[in-house]
C-alpha cells in the first residue's frame, strides 16, 4: 500500500482517538468552570437551610460526574478497542 495513504490513515486514527479521550475531560472541565462561576449552585459548600432536592441535585457536580463516568466506563475501553482494531487491520 502507498505509504502516504498509510500515514494519512494513522494520522486520522490518532486524531479520532485523541478526540474520544478528550470528550469526558471536557465535560468534567465544563462542570468545574460552572462550579467556579456559580458557587451558589454547590449547596454542599453552604448546606445550612437547604432542602433535600437542593442538596441532592447540584448540576455542576453532575457534569463532573458524567465526564468521569464516561471516561472510565466508555472512553477507556473504546480506546483500547480502537487500538486493537488498528493493530489487526494494519
Amino acid at each position: 500500500m502507498n505509504t502516504t495513504f498509510v500515514s494519512e490513515a494513522v494520522r486520522q486514527h490518532d486524531l479520532r482517538a485523541h478526540a474520544i479521550s478528550l470528550l469526558g475531560p471536557l465535560v468534567a472541565a465544563a462542570g468545574l468552570v460552572w462550579a467556579i462561576l456559580q458557587p451558589s449552585r454547590i449547596t454542599l459548600l453552604h448546606p445550612r437551610g437547604q432542602g433535600f432536592y437542593w442538596l441532592a441535585i447540584e448540576p455542576p457536580l453532575y457534569l463532573v460526574a458524567a465526564g468521569i463516568v464516561f471516561t472510565v466506563v466508555v472512553a477507556r475501553p473504546l480506546l483500547a478497542d480502537l487500538e486493537s482494531h488498528r493493530a489487526t487491520t494494519r
Binding site: 470528550l23 441535585i57 457534569l63 473504546l78 482494531h85
Partner: protein, 194 residues
C-alpha cells in the same frame, strides 16, 4: 415532595448528555469498533429507552395542565419507541432500515410537544424561551437522524445527531423555573429566585 421542575430538567440533561457523548464517541470510533463489546452497542439505545420510561412519572406527578400531561406522555412514547427500535436494530432482531425513521419521528413529536405545551411567548421567562428553543432544535435537528436513516454509515451525520442531542442537553441545563431571558421577565411569571 415534588422536586422543582428545573431540577427534573437538569436530571434529564445529564442523561441526554451521556447519550450525546456515546453518539459522539461512536461517530469518532466507527460503528465496527463501537460494536466490538456487546454491552456497548446496547448502551445508548437502552439509556434512551430508560429516559423515555422516566418521562412517565414526570407526566403522572406534574399535573399542572392537561397539555403538559399529553406532551410528556407523547414524548415518553416516542422516546421509548426510538430506543426500543434502536435496540432491535443493533441486536439484529429488526432488519428493516425503515425502523431508523423512528428517530426523526421521535424528534418531530418531541419538538412539537415542547412548542405546543409552552403556552407563553418566547420572552415571557427563561423557561418559556428554552421550551420554544428546544422545540425548534428538535424539529430542525430531525434532519440529522433522517439523514442517518438514508446513509446509516455516515460518521458526519452521526456527529450531527450527537451535536443536536448535546445542544438539547445544554439548553436543559440552562433552564430555571423563574429567571429572566435577555433581561426580560414577565411580571406574571412570578418572583425570580436562584
Amino acid at each position: 415532595m415534588q422536586p422543582p421542575a428545573e431540577m427534573v430538567h437538569w436530571l434529564f440533561a445529564v442523561g441526554i448528555l451521556f447519550v450525546g457523548l456515546c453518539l459522539f464517541a461512536e461517530a469518532l470510533a466507527g460503528r465496527e469498533v463501537w460494536h466490538m463489546r456487546r454491552w456497548r452497542k446496547y448502551l445508548w439505545p437502552s439509556l434512551t429507552l430508560v429516559l423515555g420510561l422516566f418521562l412517565w412519572p414526570v407526566m403522572a406527578f406534574f399535573t399542572n395542565s392537561a397539555i403538559h400531561m399529553y406532551a410528556h406522555g407523547s414524548w415518553a412514547d416516542a422516546l421509548m419507541l426510538a430506543g426500543a427500535a434502536e435496540l432491535g436494530l443493533v441486536h439484529g432482531r429488526l432488519k428493516s432500515p425503515l425502523w431508523r425513521l423512528t428517530w426523526p419521528l421521535a424528534f418531530v413529536i418531541t419538538g412539537t410537544a415542547f412548542i405546543v405545551h409552552e403556552q407563553n411567548p418566547w420572552l415571557f421567562a427563561r423557561s418559556a424561551f428554552l421550551h420554544h428553543l428546544i422545540g425548534w432544535t428538535f424539529i430542525v435537528g430531525a434532519l440529522a437522524p433522517l439523514a442517518i436513516a438514508i446513509r446509516p454509515r455516515s460518521a458526519a451525520f452521526q456527529a450531527m445527531f450527537a451535536a443536536v442531542i448535546v445542544a438539547v442537553s445544554i439548553q436543559l441545563f440552562a433552564d430555571r423555573d423563574v429567571a429572566p431571558i435577555f433581561g426580560h421577565l414577565s411580571p406574571l411569571a412570578g418572583q425570580q429566585h436562584r
